[in-house]
């Protein structure tokens, strides 16, 4: 069966959609013994991320086992994680 999303590092708190996913979809990702099941709170387009667990305001968003930015809002499990609720720690060039 085609996986709906991928977890790249066991330390990550987000997964990345491998296809366009819909609100209400239940998505399970697994890696090296870690398994996480999430019900999506929003539609998640291909290539975009969703939270596997709640991420508090100013907490790191972790992908590749590293902080790819900090949450600018409190993010619930299954929510879309993108530029509207996280920000690079290096600043963003397009704004």
């Amino acid at each position: 069966m085609k996986p709906k999303a991928i977890l790249i590092d066991t330390k990550d708190n987000v997964a990345t959609a491998f296809q366009d996913l819909s609100k209400g979809d239940t998505v399970t990702v697994s890696l090296e013994g870690r398994e996480a099941t999430t019900t999506l709170a929003q539609d998640i387009p291909f290539g975009h991320k969703f939270a596997l667990s709640p991420i508090g305001l100013h907490e790191p968003v972790i992908k590749y086992g590293e902080a790819i930015g900090l949450a600018t809002d409190s993010i619930g499990a299954g929510q879309h994680v993108h530029v509207h609720n996280m920000e690079s720690q290096k600043g963003r060039g397009d704004k």
Binding site: K2, I6, I8, L31, K49, K63, I68, E87, R92, D94
Partner: protein, 384 residues
Amino acid sequence: MEFQGYRRKTGKVGIRNHVLIFPTVVCSSEVARMISEKVPGTVYAIHGGGCGHVGEDKEQVIRTMLGICGHGNVASVLLVANGCEAIPPETLIPDLEKMGQPYDVVSVQEDGGTPGCVEKGVRIAKKMVEDASKLNKEAIPLSELILGCECGGSDAFSGLTANPSLGIAADKLIAEGGTAIFSETTEMLGCEKILARRAVDDKVAQDIYDAIANAEKTAMSGGVDIRGTQPSPGNIKGGLSSIEEKSLGCIRKGGNTTIMQVVKYAEHPAKKGLIIMDATAADVMNDTGLLAAGCHLIVFTTGRGTPVGSNIAPVLKVSTNSVLYNKMTPNIDVNAGVIVDGEGTLQTVGQEIFDKVLGCANGDMSKAEALGHKEFDIHFRMII
């Protein structure tokens, strides 16, 4: 673990046994090709360098030429000079002597123009091939193998499938005591702290900061703000939320181990383990730099597809998605698209890449070699 390879008098090891016909300047490159095409068992390199270089650029070209001519995969080298170039054979010979690399020289100006030079070169090259054929393979520990990690023609899957899989293969090689080099400094922007934290000591951490700052400054001197435009609107539409995320997708191809050293383009590392080569992201120039730095082979991940190979080494292609794999199957050695299709995982593809690396080290041909690819290009910033 071990592989069957060649142990050279230079102290290097090789996984191929090439006789290299190497022009010392662009002017004699066609003559080098003519010689090589008349002698089965030889390879040649066409490049645009050898004259008009100054300063650090000139040092970089010399370092690259020596790295290629003295490469572990090269049994012996025939230097083909024109005769008046800025980097004549005399510049390279003392180092080749010091290394113990078998070499010889022909010159277009001194050996009777094109026909005379070709005739003499063919005679010498035939003897070199005969001598090289007498060398036997022996068991060599995997700890002596150096892998180059490259990505080019990336797509939205690169950072999700092929690059993390290649990283797993690199981690496996390093666990065996081996070495992996990844490069493309501009693709490390935003990850300075993340990479520096993985450095073995403060000096390497500082070298990482310096290399990335320097790449940014170089782009700025060309009038381009490469940080200020990241991630691009297209990246954001595709789901990338920060420059850290974009860069991590690239650097993951080097795996997750401690960074032991930062080397310059075409510089041999003094350490084993994971190495960063501070160099251009242009694919063929980067490959040439990785090989000149001592890589025995390269694994190259691609999302859009590329045919690129090398004249002296295997270049294994990993597709990031199955659409590309199906379009360019003759060029692709491993399909990481199976991860998206549910027919594989990062671990299984990482293992497959590692197994292919081991196979190539033992003599299996990469598809690029079987197809006759021999791309080669020395990086320099200017010719005056």
